[in-house]
């Protein structure tokens, strides 16, 4: 049995013990609960409940950390050249990781939002941002992700991460942002 499975078993046991420890109504005879055993025959737990709680908390924290790491990978921003929407070679590894996470978690759905720097009109940059979002979606679907799981949107130049009027800021602002919109409560790491 793996460590994770053992902890799950212990958690289940703790729950049963907790339920059995509940004060009985003196006016009623408890009905048998499927899978439960009389209190008098309850086996001695392998570990004390306090330790089990601690381990469970640790495991939950580890799982959340694993999940957060996947969410972070999913949310990694990719960047674009000026007035371009082709995915940069530097960003393909990031998109590859996202594709793997999406394929390992069929319930997961994401939104890709394209952004632009402040040069050019708002309208043109809304269209450019959409093309950047579509470019990322196309890349992911070519890797086998079902396109219906990927929404695309554009905020153009409207929401800069760095409002400074210089090239360094412009480079940060020309980006796709990725956000899980469903199925991210529990995530399985890709093999």
């Amino acid at each position: 049995m793996t460590q994770r499975a053992l902890v799950v078993a212990l958690l289940g046991l703790t729950t049963v013990v907790g339920a059995c420890g509940k004060k009985a109504d003196p006016n009623t005879t408890p009905a048998p609960v499927a899978g439960s055993v009389p209190a008098s025959s309850t086996p001695t737990p392998l570990v004390r409940p306090a330790n089990a709680d601690s381990m469970a908390r640790a495991e939950a924290a580890r799982r959340e950390a694993d999940r957060a790491a996947l969410v972070n990978q999913l949310a990694e921003t990719i960047h674009f050249d000026y007035d371009q929407f082709a995915v940069n070679p530097d960003d393909t590894a990031r998109l590859d990781r996202k594709a793997a996470i999406l394929k390992a978690n069929p319930a997961l759905r994401i939104r890709v939002t394209g952004h632009a720097d402040e040069r050019g009109s708002d309208e043109y940059n809304l269209a450019l941002g959409m093309k950047r979002a579509i470019a990322a979606k196309d890349y992911l679907t070519r890797l086998g992700v079902d396109g219906s799981r990927i929404e695309v949107a554009s905020l153009g130049r409207e929401v800069p991460v760095d409002p400074s009027p210089n090239e360094a800021a412009y480079a940060k602002n020309r980006r796709d942002e990725f956000e899980a919109i469903a199925g991210a409560q529990s995530l399985v790491a890709p093999r």
Binding site: R111, S121, E123, E158
Partner: protein, 441 residues
């Protein structure tokens, strides 16, 4: 500016003597030297004087006429522009101005008189209900008087009684700060969109009482039509998916054409805003192409727009029903700079747009149907774009970063004169109103 001749100063000193019924001493002469901003030239000279209590109105009219860029204005300080006795046109003849405007209180109104100085005659007069304070909404009535004077003098179209809508953002953060309006003379700044959402692309309804804009919420940009008087809003049907932007009303106000940014591509659509229905697609060029920023010709029969269908953004046009799509402004592939956001002049003769040239983006104009190359109209700064025509078809308002941040500028294409509209924070996407009539807010 060349020095004002002594003879002209002496003439005005005489005028001051008549008007103020007080001796014109050395101090008056000095004030004249400081106050006069008149240089005789090709354009007719104009002087504006007013009776007591009308200093504010006089200054507004004086500035409106200057901003028309049609006249050489003799700017006067209040002390010299104030009359206590009727204006005597003959006293102004040595000054060299062609026209003089006299403003005087009559009952609850203001009498406006226009004198032809060369002929020594009164040419036009009328009484108008004006608020002497000249603040807030009452300014519009004063601007209308200025426009009447332009018509009286030249038979031309004045643009003082107009306003400009624009999108603002905050200083520093550049966060969205809504849509605002400002009088064409740079006064009377008012926010018109409510807080919340991101807003872009204000566009005037031709009746001047409403405007359309895009409000982006939850990644969808809906087209809203809002009353300027009441703030009442209506969402244009079928604009609740994608990001619908860059709207333009048909000249009769019955239709609205706009770009929709969506996964299947960025294309132009048209909707009926009289019946509030029936949006339909006008272009189809694929998901990696964009067709944007449409503008109707003033007869309503054609629509110019930007398209990336051939790669580089360029200016195209089609019939209003979407047929006969073709290049409008000729370009050489690989040579001509990318061209953006056209606006068709109210007189129908010209299309203005932004074009990449010499490392920056500059305003260009192209005479419709002439086959001549487009003419570059700006050269200051590296980002000059999103032009919007004034009703006189000679002024453009546009966005420029020539001061280091996005601001609104106005250029007169006949004289090359430009001025900045004073706006807080960043300002872009200007839309110049039609002439605002008496029923406008």
């Amino acid at each position: 500016m060349r020095p004002v001749p002594f003879l002209q100063l002496a003439a005005l000193a005489t005028l001051a003597l008549v008007g103020r019924a007080s001796p014109a001493g050395a101090q008056d002469i000095e004030r004249i030297r400081l106050g006069i901003n008149y240089t005789a030239g090709a354009r007719p000279g104009v002087l504006v004087m007013a009776g007591p209590g009308l200093d504010s109105i006089r200054r507004i009219v004086e500035r409106d006429l200057a901003f028309s860029d049609r006249y050489e204005m003799a700017f006067l300080p209040d002390s010299l522009g104030r009359l206590t006795a009727p204006l005597v046109p003959a006293t102004l003849k040595p000054l060299g101005v062609a026209w003089a405007v006299e403003l005087r209180r009559i009952g609850a109104g203001v009498e406006v008189k226009l004198y032809d100085i060369a002929a020594g005659q009164l040419r036009q007069q009328g009484v108008r209900p004006l608020d002497p304070a000249g603040v807030g909404e009452s300014r519009l009535a004063i601007h209308r008087v200025s426009d009447e004077l332009v018509t009286w003098i030249n038979g031309g179209i004045g643009i003082a009684a107009t306003r400009i809508l624009f999108k603002a953002d905050e200083i520093g953060t550049r966060r969205d700060n809504g849509i605002w309006r400002i009088d064409a003379d740079g006064q009377n700044l008012v926010r018109v969109s409510r807080p919340g959402g991101l807003v872009v692309s204000p566009a005037w309804h031709p009746d001047g009482t409403r405007f359309a804009f895009t409000e982006i919420k939850d990644y969808v940009g809906a087209l809203i039509i809002q009353s300027l008087a009441t703030g009442t809003r209506v969402t244009v049907p079928t604009t609740v998916s994608g990001t619908n932007n860059g709207a333009s009303f048909s000249p009769d106000g019955s239709k609205i054409v706009f770009g929709r940014v969506a996964e299947e591509g960025t294309d132009l659509f048209e909707a009926d805003v009289t019946r509030m229905c029936c949006a339909h697609r006008l272009t189809t060029t694929g998901k990696y192409a964009a067709n944007l920023t449409p503008t109707y010709s003033p007869d309503g029969r054609r629509i110019a727009f930007m398209s990336t269908r051939a790669g580089s953004p360029q200016i195209y046009a089609m019939d209003a029903d979407g047929t006969d799509q073709a290049v409008l402004v000729p370009f050489d592939a690989g040579e001509t700079g990318a061209s953006y956001a056209p606006d068709w002049s109210p007189d129908g003769t010209t299309v203005a747009f932004g074009r990449d040239a010499a490392g920056g983006r500059q305003l260009f104009t192209w005479q419709v149907g002439t086959g001549r190359p487009a003419k570059q109209q700006t050269s200051t700064g590296r980002q000059n774009e999103d032009p919007s025509w004034a009703a006189d078809s000679r002024h453009l308002v546009f966005r420029s970063n020539r001061t280091g941040r996005d601001q609104l500028w106005i250029v007169d294409l006949e004289t090359g004169t430009s001025r900045q509209l004073p706006t807080p924070g960043g300002a872009r996407l200007p839309a110049w109103s039609p002439i605002l009539r008496g029923t406008n807010p």
